[in-house]
């Protein structure tokens, strides 16, 4: 490690300077391990989901539906069979369906087949929907869901980024001058975060859409959508105001209170006193000695909040008629469209996994223990 140094024969080991490539390798190794373990966890989670769904035979319904659909199509398109009456055609279809089901072993116990379905779920081969169709006309569950993903991501990312940064700056401000009136107000209002975002959404809708009529009742863009891209973007922004505000109101006060308390606790540490005594500016002290050590904790709490908020988004989208994944799930529930319901749950498991992974990755970037090689954060 040490290049060309004189080997001093003492019991003291020379301090090893970590070179950047080693840093990167360690990070990479951590990432890959994390990715792998997460993948296994996601797979197990999905398997449990499939088991739960299968207990009522719903997973088989998906497969059977697929079989029947493809056979019906092939029979109706076969010119040699055109002369059959409706009854004969139905009988033929049933017979072929039965043969196919036997071939696929659908009459055998599920445990054996569950793994192939798990494989399907992991590769997002989620079958065909019973009632719903995607906007582009596809009945593939994968397409239906993936089409709905961008609006959800748009809403979620915007809301969470705004919440994160605004809370962070506000918390920093409060930690600097705590005890004043604003501080007391924030502390007093922190219990309001016990209510989920959709709850505030209803109130906001009531006030701004129903009573005042200044903001739209729901949806992502006005109908009919404007042709001009700029107008379209503006319309989307206008429709985002209420849902994002609901999200912010719900998460704001508790976040600010929690982080401000964290900052205060950390800023009372001795090394912060030392830094101040050294003569560093307030800003500098804050950034290096308070923000840096608390960042892993902040990210952990933010991660947990994010995970729980994913589910809240389902109802938020329903309340605001936002054309995303959550509202799709709601409609599928109303229609009893089991392939879509199961597919959505699978996708949510994936999304959670990706979220956890991203946050662990950021955590790794921020937590120096990872780089030093002590294995990263112990659970």
């Amino acid at each position: 490690m040490t290049e060309g140094s004189i080997t001093v024969d003492s019991g003291i080991e020379p301090v090893v300077q970590q070179k950047s490539p080693n840093n990167f390798l360690k990070l990479l190794r951590y990432t890959v391990i994390k990715l792998f373990t997460l993948f296994i966890a996601v797979a197990i989670g999905m398997y449990l989901t499939i088991l739960i769904a299968q207990m009522g035979g719903y997973v088989d319904e998906i497969i059977k539906g697929q079989i029947r659909e493809s056979i019906s199509i092939s029979v109706s398109q076969n010119p040699e069979l055109k002369f059959l009456t409706a009854q004969e055609r139905a009988e033929l279809i049933n017979e072929r369906v039965r043969v196919e089901e036997e071939r696929l072993g659908l009459d055998r116990p599920f445990i054996g087949r569950s793994f192939s379905f798990l494989g399907n779920a992991l590769t997002l081969n989620l079958g065909r929907a019973q009632w719903l169709t995607s906007d582009s006309g596809s009945k593939l569950v994968r397409n239906i869901i993936l089409e709905r993903l961008p609006p959800t991501l748009l809403l979620m990312t915007t809301s969470n980024m705004l919440l994160f940064f605004i809370s962070l700056f506000f918390a920093l401000y409060l930690s600097r001058n705590y005890g004043n009136l604003i501080d007391k107000i924030v502390i007093g209002l922190s219990p309001t975060s016990s209510a989920p975002a959709w709850f505030y959404g209803i109130f906001l809708l009531l006030l701004f859409a129903a009573v005042l009529g200044v903001l739209p009742f729901g949806g992502m863009v006005m109908a009919p959508p404007p042709d001009d891209t700029w107008q379209y973007a503006l319309s989307v922004l206008r429709h985002m105001i209420l849902p994002v505000s609901a999200w912010m109101i719900s998460g704001f006060f508790a976040s600010v209170y929690g982080w401000r308390t964290f900052f205060l606790i950390f800023s009372m540490e001795d090394y912060v006193e030392l830094a101040r005594a050294k003569g560093l500016s307030s800003r500098e002290v804050e950034r290096r000695y308070v923000l840096r050590p608390t960042l892993p904790n902040i990210i952990t709490t933010f991660a947990l909040m994010l995970i729980s908020l994913w589910q809240g988004a389902i109802i938020l989208e329903t309340v605001f008629n936002w054309p995303g994944l959550g509202r799709l799930l709601y409609r599928a529930v109303g229609l009893y469209d089991s392939p879509v319901i199961i597919g959505s749950t699978v996708i949510y498991a994936y999304l959670l996994g990706i979220t956890v992974f991203l946050l662990d990755f950021i955590y790794a970037l921020v937590d120096p223990r990872v780089r030093v090689g002590s294995g990263g954060p112990k659970a």
């Binding site: 007093g188 975060s193 009742f217 589910q311 659970a379």
Partner: protein, 450 residues
Amino acid sequence: MKALTRSFRQLLHYPSAIAGILLILLLVGVSIYTLIAIPYNEAIRLWRGGEDVWGESPRTARPLWLDWITADKKSQTIVINSASEEDGIDKDVTEVAEDMWDIGMVFEFDYPYDGFPQEMIVYFTATFDEKNPFVSMTWETPDGRQFRMSDTDLAPAGSYRFDQDNRLARRLPEGLLPQVALFAMPEVDPPTTVKGTYRLYVDGIVFEEGSDFDAKLVIFGEVHGLAGTDHRRRDITLPLLWGTPIALTFGLVASLGTTIITMLIAAMGVWYGGIVDDLIQRITEINMLLPLLPILIMVGTFYNRSIWTMLGLIIVLSIFGAAIKNYRAIFMQIKESPYIEAARSYGAGNFRIIVKYLIPRIIPILIPGLVSGIPAFVFLEASLAVLGLGDPVLPTWGKLINDANSQGALNNGYYYWVLQPAVLLMITGLGFAMVGFALDRIFNPRLREV
């Protein structure tokens, strides 16, 4: 134990906690009152019942208290029943011809309201052998105008709806519903009510001796009850009242169950260490990847929506959550304490150590989490109900919001339908959260400095 009571007394130093406790006591009081005043079976009957429950109740009527704060007087429901003694309707029986008797009744009432009724129905019941009675009615306004309704044959039980009488509609001023036209001043726009005494003359011809009929005039008002009514004419005070014990019980049981079981599992993991600990860690990681709400939705759609199923499932899925890591960290600390070592040296069994030493130390940490967790579960149950997956039988707050949403309450201006359960949810959430926050500051001394 004494330390705990001392800590709880510290709660009283925090004004927010006192407010929270008051709110909680209010809710508990309402729950107890509700459980005594409206027993469970009665509540279910009222919530699902038939015409005897709803027959005299208007559809989507506003609460009475809304009337008190607005200037004009909205109409209230008026019921006059010839069959009931206290309404004092006399039947005037005269023999008109051979085998024909005329039974005459006069329904008289005062109408002091500015608003018009929503609906008007006359319910008839008749007793006869073969020939059904024949009824004609005349409406008289305070200023002496008269309107003749279409004549009706009577069945053993039936009703006459004023707004379905086409011939009457033709006789009334153009463009006005009967319930408006019969009460409005002539030629006045916008329609204004004529206040005073109205009369409905009901004359029935019966063709058999001993035949009789009764009529119940129901004029449905615009306001009804302390909380209004919903689209199925049910009084909203019922789900508002009954939702309270349901929400409180659900939140408490879920939070308590989750906290206790989590704590037990964390304790066992730390104490037995090794494989057990690792296993619990892995299970926690996997469980945190399971999306709670979608799974609840899946189970609710496919299997069973009963509140007990949901409660059990929620507890099972919440046990292996983030809290386990916190408890584990604390247990690790405690495990190294000298008195634990002392206990092992005198030969205490594992179980005894866990129960007598580890657990009591962690109870102070549990309590804030327990209390703060209750609102989360209450809102989770409400969320399920809003999505349409609530318990199909029970009247809950979430069900009210769900009904309101599906009936377009916000679009149609029935704000009370949404606001009342929302306010109650908010009170519940705030009450427990405020107490939870204060408890957090008491039991986590580090937070007290700030």
